[in-house]
Amino acid sequence: MIAPDALKGYRGAARDVLTRFSVRVWSDVEMDTTRGKFTGIILPRSETADDRHIVLKLRTGYNIGVAVSTVKEILETGYREAHYKIPEREFPYDPAKPRVKLLGTGGTIASRLDYRTGAVIPAFSPGELYGSVPELADIGNLETEKLYGVFSENMGPEQWIGTARAIGREIEKGVDGIVIGHGTDTMHHTAAVLSFMVQNTPVPIVMVGSQRSSDRPSSDAAMNLICSTKVAAESDIAEVMVCMFGPTSDQYCLLHQGTRVRKMHSSYRSTFRTIGDVPIGQVSPDSIRTIRKDYRRRRKDRNVTIQAVFEPKVAIVQYYPNMQPDIIEALIDNGYKGIVIAGTGLGHVNKPLYPALRRAHDKGIALFMTVQTLWGYAQMYVYDTGRDLMDLGIVPAENMLPEVAYVKLGWTLAQTTDLAEVERIMLTSYAREITEREPHDGYLIFQAGAPWLQEHFRKFWK
């Protein structure tokens, strides 16, 4: 009798064949098939893969799939179970070094193989981290706590609130800096919401992840982790930040303000960009260089305010030409309390939406306008459309990024439902989510082609 778990991932026809020949996952086998003989260890199969093949690991380390329809005979000759485990080494303690807390929420910053899906899942402990990135011990005394183990798309209000509270606890305990491991997809949402939920932090709070999972030799995980830990331990920047690769080369990371950062490429290492501003600083494993000087400084006190609340009935609506009013109507009818619109240009939507928007306003729904261009301000006086929309009760949210306005509105509506107060809070800049001025070098998107730029590409690592 074979325990059901011994056929990990195998379904249907493949499962039948394994059962028929009394073999299981990790069996060392010789298979005779119509295509020839194959020898190796039966591996677990991804649950999303078909039920017509059995996976074999050959002696050479290669894997192959054998079609079950070709199998004539399977003979078990042994059994060898694999344990994929990052070697753990006890993290050394040095009383002279700063105390850094690493809070884990998930992502591929430290990861291992998941046989269920065939993809990678996060792994995480000080010992594992020290085993794979020993440089961390030169920076500080690292403690870790796994808050969650989720991909970043599964982060939401519950996790945001839990993370904010954990940060508060750690600051009170006296840590010198906090690093938060996070999947990259929604890292900027979490960075923004933490910028509001954690106010007046006396220590650096640094979010970090990796664009190439840490099970790859060329992963960006190690440098991101080293740089972010260095900032948490040594820098005087008491802000919520994102610390990720600056260029695609292994040269330095950039420190982005939590409310001004955005993931801008689905796969590049240098995906995080500060929008409409310059980054706070540049970090390499050897040095921290600040670029902006107006950040809040590290303090000795522990006077942090944790305001971990979130109203989930908030939506973000990306406007597109031909948008039908029923989208807005649906939000009203479903009891939404706030809507952030990402409008075109300076902050516009089409006329057919007006009645629905008026109804939303009449129902007491908070309405804010941001720009889908990402760079620039919502400036609704310039064209008639903007003035019309303001008459309907839509408030321009300055140069707040759409996602930032979204999480801020959820945070605000959990504190008050008084629209005047909501507007006051939304238009008050707490963490640079609104800036009074946009610097001339806050919008740098180079376009290839100009000879001076091509020359630059040839000469400098990018």
Binding site: F38, L113, R216
Partner: protein, 642 residues
């Protein structure tokens, strides 16, 4: 009698029985680029190579765990070298996939088909599903730090003389970057070659002499070329050669660019292994053991080593460290020859060159190397209180590199007690080799989680099998049986015009001799005069053989016609232009009647017909088929008889 170094013979003075006595076993890994339009995992064009580049990026590599939870030895070694790896990006042949900034796209189906075709020709068992694996390469030759590779077929056989050679496996993989430079802690690569589709054919260690290894390599290369679907030219095919002798270990000689160099490399590697095994015996004789072996390290001042050598001056001018290492009992081992020009000391030097990045030679000094005099060594010997049997070695360079070098030298000496270390070695021009890196094992394999497995259903296999030509050795046999002479049969069997030949003979009715002569000898001659015959489409050559078999022209006119076709004319146009228009019946009939009237009736009608045809054909040659004229003559003769 104590064991002493043995003479290392040259290959040409070595009898095959010597290799048998050594227990020589050798296998091959033959790499062959496939002729596809695009790369394996992205949509970049597969070529051409560039002399310049458009941008540079910098990467570092860190070892990661295998699927079975282990680190690979090679990976750990590469980690020690602390290399900065710079990639020179060629924009026209490189996208963000090769830069490892975009996940792979679906695998190139054209490449999969070609790999399966060759796997079938090698007689391997084709897998049910292709699983892409990541094979770690921490030398930086691939920006991801691994090569995407997949097994296509396993356990095949190819004929060799009166026996067969086992094929372990054939895999489909992406090619690595071209190395531009490797100096100190910096490596530079160009990305144009990166990710071109490649097959790797691995043989069992079935070859017993250096000559056999080269023979089998030629067979495998011919087999692949015979499909007409692989790249040719410099760098399109490369070989790794695995060598071991009885008591030795598998050593892999990497990147042999030309087959004629294989026998020398195999020969000298066999004797290097024999020498290393002799050293094991000698150390045993001396009562030394790996467990108790310790080197002593003493710091030296730059002033202690003032020799006029560029590498030493370089170390002196910088912040270089100098250290003396005392290797107990190794004084007679260091100068022990392991090749015609190399000694055991070169093994040590090779390791620190690679691992400690001390690549300016000489990167170490030892007694008897000819760089320093007796007085120099006498002083060091006195100061260090080394025993008379102990070897002295001086290493120098940047402090961390010197520390790394001291550790590596001790480790390599310890390996000397066990014999032949598992390593990959770089081929040198004289047939010798030098240390390249630790031999990687199965620990460097990891499943690629970016792409799902690709099923190879029976229908796909059958489609490819149906379109696959017989293996090249069977083709050659068939050609010889048809009477094609060897000097044409051998190249024709792997020619991409082989199928044209087959159609010319089987469908157009051309004689095998004519077909082979035109497609091989005549093509060679025309190529030599600069004529672009290789650009003529197969279909036009088919048409040309059709016209020839139909009697439209004589074989002497082939060169003129092919020249015209190489210049862009179709077969029909060329024949019409050079041979002239077809002769209409109205032109032929009067000629026949005249000739018939003038000829005297012969007792044998056949003889008379030949005579008449001989009279009219010179005027008609190539413009009407002889058979047609003969038919017309029979008709006219019949009329006359009535």
């Amino acid at each position: 009698m104590p064991i002493t170094p043995r003479r290392i013979p040259a290959p040409e003075e070595t009898d095959p029985s010597v290799y048998r006595d050594l227990g020589l076993k050798s296998g091959l890994e033959v790499h062959q680029q496939l002729l596809t339009a695009r790369k394996l995992f992205c949509r970049c064009p597969a070529g051409p190579y560039r002399a310049d580049y458009d941008a540079e990026i910098l990467r570092h590599m860190r070892p990661t765990l295998s699927e079975m939870g282990e680190y690979d030895g090679t990976a750990l070694m590469e980690k020690k070298t602390r290399k900065e790896v710079v990639y020179q990006i060629t924009g026209d042949t490189t996208c963000t996939y090769e830069m490892d900034d975009t996940p792979p796209f679906k695998v190139n189906g054209e490449a999969v088909d070609i790999a399966i075709e060759i796997a079938l020709l090698l007689g391997t068992s084709i897998v049910g599903e292709l699983h892409i694996a990541r094979k770690q390469y921490l030398d930086g030759s691939i920006p991801t730090g691994f090569q995407r590779t997949a097994i296509v077929g396993l356990a095949g056989r190819i004929p060799y003389g009166d026996r067969t050679i086992g094929i372990t496996q054939i895999s489909l993989e992406e090619d690595a970057c071209r190395e531009v430079e490797d100096r100190g802690h910096l490596r530079v690569y160009r990305t144009d070659r990166l990710s071109r589709p490649l097959i790797e054919t691995v043989t069992d260690p079935d070859m017993k002499t250096p000559g056999e290894v080269a023979d089998v390599c030629r067979i495998i290369a011919r087999l692949a070329r015979g499909t007409g679907k692989v790249r040719t030219g410099i760098g399109a095919g490369r070989e790794d050669v695995n060598v071991s002798v009885t008591g030795g270990t598998r050593v892999e000689i990497k990147g042999v660019p030309r087959i004629p160099r294989i026998p020398g490399l195999v020969h000298y590697e066999a004797f290097r292994q024999r020498a290393l095994l002799d050293i094991v015996e000698r150390l045993k004789e001396k009562g030394l053991s790996a467990e108790s072996f310790r080197t002593a390290r003493r710091p030296l001042g730059a002033g202690d080593v003032s020799l006029p050598l560029p590498s030493i001056e370089h170390a002196r001018s910088g912040d270089g460290d100098f250290a003396l290492l005392v290797l107990p009992g190794f004084r007679e081992i260091l100068p022990w020859p392991v090749g015609p020009t190399r000694t055991f000391a070169d093994e040590l030097s090779g390791h620190i060159r690679v691992v400690a990045c001390l690549d300016q030679l000489p990167n170490m000094l030892f007694e008897g190397d000819g760089h320093a005099n007796e007085e120099f060594w006498g002083r060091l010997r006195r100061d260090s209180a080394a025993g008379p049997d102990d070897a002295l070695v001086v290493v120098f360079g940047p402090a961390p590199d010197v520390t790394m070098a001291a550790g590596e030298i001790e480790a390599r000496c310890r390996q000397a007690f066990r014999g032949v270390p598992n390593e990959t070695r770089q081929a040198l021009a004289n047939g010798e080799t030098r240390f390249e890196r630790v031999l990687p094992g199965p620990e460097r394999m990891y499943p690629d989680t970016d792409l799902p497995p690709l099923a190879i259903p029976d229908e796909r296999l059958e489609r490819i099998r149906a379109a696959t030509l017989p293996p090249v050795w069977d083709r050659e046999k068939w050609l010889r049986a048809l009477g094609v002479p060897a000097h044409e049969a051998v190249p024709l069997a792997i020619s991409r015009r082989y199928t044209v030949f087959r159609r010319a003979v089987e469908e157009q009715g051309a004689s095998p001799k004519d077909g082979a002569r035109v497609l091989i000898s005549l093509f060679v001659a025309l190529r030599r005069e600069g004529c672009a015959v290789d650009g003529i489409p197969d279909t036009e050559i088919d048409a040309l053989f059709g016209l020839f078999a139909g009697g439209r022209f004589a074989r002497e006119i082939f060169p003129a016609l092919l020249r015209a076709m190489a210049a862009g004319r179709s077969a029909k146009e060329a024949v019409a232009g050079i041979v002239g228009p077809p002769a209409p019946r109205s032109e032929v009939e009067p000629l026949l009647r005249g000739e018939l009237a003038a000829s005297t009736p012969a007792p044998e009608p056949e003889r008379r017909a030949r005579h008449i045809l001989g009279g009219v054909m010179p005027a008609l040659r190539g413009r009407i088929a002889g058979a047609e004229v003969r038919r017309m003559l029979a008709g006219i003769a019949g009329e006359v008889r009535k």
